[in-house]
């Protein structure tokens, strides 16, 4: 393959350079019905799962078909999306804040052909390319992170856990039987790139072993002071180490009981890897929310301390998630989010109803505010 220059001249990086222009302006991209009725919408209705109509003061309508997206998306797939949008939507579309694809048309007649077209497209293994759903009181797409596709600190894979989970939750993507929306999110390490800390159900990758110390290379590959400074719990100290061959090298030692397995040291110093086949796995959290509807936003709570990585389909994890969804579906009141339900029935009942074991790991012992999560009233259920 031959190098093809874009026009950029490495010797004169500033020549003809364009910077600081920002993104394209949104109004270049609005479909006409949106541009015309922006700010003048009257109401909406969900006609069937994944199909919405919004009605404007002008009487105009916009029909939206929401389809599930793998946010890890090839250009071939994007081109297919464009082909559909060209065919049905005058060349417009949008993505949602949860990585679904929305195809919009401006009249009811256009809905059915678009719908049929979308559902007819399948991948070789039988998966839908464009499943319709993710609206109303159901489960929408899982927002997730990089996982083993692109990051250096994941404790699990993102795309894989998400595919496995969406497959078992698929009926609730295409349906609206739940008491309220149920948002599932995924993040592959405790940096939690996303809003998993406020999701109805959250899948989190977590390490459980302190970093390995590549003593021989420590001082070659890393700025030792930076590695030491990176540790939030001050677990890393400088150390002199004698290698097998008798040479003494500068390295570090880790006070293991203080280590919270955060991987910050590895980010600063490649000689401190902490990934581990059995140490790493999944933490499940539940009961968070973001909206202010009825109750304030809430953080998700840890409900399963650890589930091993079981590739390729993480069955123990998806079973636990399904149990939570089913217990919630069976027991919550209409409009009640999962966390509101858990608080109403009490977490002691949540664990019972979801058939999850309560272990000591779930009791907060991290810093001062831990104390506020302990039970400080006789108001509990036997």
């Amino acid at each position: 393959m031959a190098f093809v220059s874009s026009g950029y001249n490495p010797d004169k990086p500033m020549a003809n350079r364009i910077t600081d222009i920002g993104p394209r302006k949104f109004d270049e991209f609005y479909p006409p019905v949106i541009a015309k009725n922006k700010g003048k919408w009257l109401y909406h209705e969900i006609l069937e799962p994944g199909i919405l109509v919004h009605v404007a003061e002008s009487g105009d309508e916009v029909y939206t078909i929401r389809t599930g997206g793998c946010r890890l998306m090839s250009v071939s797939h994007i081109r297919e999306i464009c082909e559909i949008a060209d065919k049905h939507c005058d060349g417009h579309l949008r993505f949602t804040t949860r990585n679904n694809i929305e195809f919009m048309v401006d009249s009811k007649e256009k809905v059915e052909p678009l719908k049929q077209d979308l559902l007819s497209r399948k991948q070789a293994g039988g998966c839908y390319k464009f499943p319709i759903g993710g609206s109303g009181a159901g489960i929408t797409n899982i927002v997730h992170t990089q996982g083993w596709i692109h990051c250096h600190t994941p404790a699990t894979d993102a795309s894989g856990t998400v595919k496995a989970t969406m497959d078992v939750l698929f009926d609730d993507f295409t349906n609206m039987r739940l008491p309220a929306k149920l948002k599932v999110s995924m993040a592959c390490c405790l940096n939690m790139c996303g809003a998993v800390h406020c999701s109805d159900i959250a899948i989190l990758g977590y390490h459980r072993k302190p970093p390995m110390l590549d003593h021989e290379y420590m001082n070659k590959m890393c700025e030792i002071p930076l590695a030491i400074a990176a540790c939030p719990t001050y677990a890393i100290k400088p150390a002199k180490v004698t290698l097998e061959d008798g040479t003494e090298v500068k390295s570090v030692s880790v006070n293991e009981p203080r280590c919270m397995f955060c991987g910050n040291c590895y980010t600063m110093c490649p000689a401190m890897p902490l990934a581990d086949d059995v140490g790493d796995g999944i933490v499940l959290m539940a009961g968070g929310k973001v909206s202010n509807r009825i109750s304030a936003p809430k953080f998700s709570k840890v409900v399963v301390a650890f589930i091993p990585n079981e590739m390729p389909r993480w069955p123990t994890m998806t079973d636990a998630i399904q149990r939570m969804v089913e217990a919630y579906a069976a027991d919550a009141n209409k409009y009640e989010r999962l966390g509101e339900w858990a608080e109403r029935i009490g977490w002691e009942r949540f664990f019972e109803k979801c058939e999850l074991e309560f272990t000591h790991h779930l009791i907060d012992d991290f810093r001062d505010p831990a104390y506020f999560t302990w039970r400080q009233t006789t108001n509990f259920k036997f």
Binding site: W41, E48, L72, S74, G125, G126, G136, H150, L178, P232
Partner: protein
């Protein structure tokens, strides 16, 4: 024939949900075939190798990526995430596999023309794999080599009028909910301000001058469809100050079962006939509603604008006319001291172009303080925690307001300042001893 065997990944090619594996294989195959004779600027088999490295991770249960060091485009401190494979001989196609963040348009509407241009560029100069979109909101170009970074950037700027997004200790790419574009509940134009601030603060977005990352997110109403209150250093959440508009006829239509509650969101189950008392009045968090003699009343001063009644009866209830937003500061992910939700710092502010009041009285004073006082890798929320909410009031000049707190302090440990206490702190011990012997 695939370059690597992927028996584990292959098991993710069935089931109803779209398979990312199938999609990656599709791209791998498309590159292998190269029907359009593209001059691939990075290894043609990069998608094959990405499948291979992922299969290996599925086998080992461990990632095969190393930290990427600092790579980027000249003059920018962000927009690129460097990444190297820890098995470059086995997977030369992804030995260097950097990500580029491309600043998405507000609202994430697209024309197919634009997307196709993007695809052409990224197919030539990158892996042909993307994330639509990253968690912050950017279009993610997933995987290219160092030499291609400048080339992609050049083409984006010159041919697509398109800039990179943020990474590093910068302003991160702002993002917003669909808002007024297609939602009846937007209390301000989220796209307009999102775009305006992104353009206004390009320098802050591209050139690291901050202690750590900083995020803006714009939600048109308290439903928070872009989760601003949970994950942005400054969250702008639409609100209003006057009455919810009530269409009494439509209320009756809901009560009579003619209109589906919650816009049909609960149609998947038979919840029985709609009961306005049980489903709306009794669930109103403030108890400020009444439905009597076929008339719905809302006691506006007591209303939280929590959206519930509006969500349940979208054709009967509409947001008010005196529109604006509330601003929340300091939300962030848990690392290190536990997650922080955004805290209310401005109960109400008008959102009107050119947004001078927001920029000059909110954003910039806060940035000045944070840049002055923030430690390295200290988010705004952490600084607020460390120096106290009072300090934020001081630097912004905001008036203390009980709306800023959920409840007053439970500890009496008020650190009085010397100038607040009559007579100051200096006293004469000998004078005191005249009245109090040793």
């Amino acid at each position: 024939m695939a370059k690597h065997e992927t028996p584990l990944l292959d098991q993710l090619e069935t089931g109803p949900w779209p398979s990312f594996v199938t999609d990656m294989k599709r791209e791998a195959e498309s590159r292998a075939k190269n029907e359009r004779n593209i001059e691939y600027q990075i290894p043609q088999d990069c998608c094959d190798d990405l499948l291979g490295v992922l299969e290996l991770s599925f086998k080992h249960g461990r990632t095969h990526w190393k930290h990427g060091g600092i790579v980027g485009v000249f003059g920018y401190g962000g927009g690129v995430i460097g990444r190297y494979c820890d098995q470059p001989e086995m997977f030369p196609g992804v030995a260097h596999f950097h990500t580029m963040r491309v600043s998405q348009p507000a609202g994430k509407f697209y024309t197919t023309k634009y997307l196709e241009d993007i695809c052409d560029l990224w197919e030539r100069r990158g892996s042909g794999l993307t994330n639509m979109h990253g968690s912050t909101g950017d279009i993610i170009f997933l995987g290219t080599t160092t030499p291609q970074l400048e080339e992609v950037f050049w083409e984006l700027g010159h041919n697509l009028n398109q800039d990179l997004g943020g990474s590093g200790s910068n302003l991160r790419t702002p993002s917003d909910c669909v808002g007024a574009a297609r939602c009846e509940w937007a209390c301000y134009d989220t796209q307009a301000i999102c775009h305006d601030l992104t353009v206004e603060y390009q320098d802050e977005l591209h050139r690291p001058a901050f202690p750590y990352k900083f995020k803006f997110k714009f939600d048109g109403c308290p439903n928070c469809c872009v989760a601003s209150i949970a994950r942005s250093d400054l969250a702008f959440v639409g609100t209003w100050r006057d009455d919810i508009k009530i269409d009494q006829e439509a209320v009756k239509a809901y009560v009579g079962g003619e209109l589906p509650p919650n816009g049909g969101a609960h149609a998947g189950r038979d919840w029985g006939p709609f009961d306005i008392q049980k489903e709306v009045i009794d669930l109103c968090p403030t108890g400020c509603m009444r439905y009597e003699d076929g008339k719905l009343e809302i006691n506006t001063p007591e209303c939280y604008r929590c959206m519930h009644c509006i969500c349940v009866m979208p054709r009967a209830l509409r947001i008010g006319n005196d529109l604006g937003c509330s601003i929340f500061a300091g939300a962030k992910a848990p690392i290190l001291d536990g997650a922080q939700m955004g805290s209310l710092i401005v109960p109400f502010i008008k959102v009107e172009e050119p947004y001078d009041e927001i920029k000059e009285t909110v954003i910039e004073p806060i940035w000045d303080w944070w840049m002055e006082e923030g430690k390295n890798r200290e988010r705004l929320g952490e600084l607020m925690k460390r120096q106290g909410f009072q300090k934020l009031l001081e630097v912004t000049g905001f008036k203390p307001d009980p709306r800023m707190i959920q409840e007053p302090r439970t500890n009496p440990y008020i650190f009085w300042k010397e100038d607040e206490v009559e007579g100051g702190f200096d006293r004469d011990i000998n004078e005191f001893r005249k009245h109090h012997q040793r």
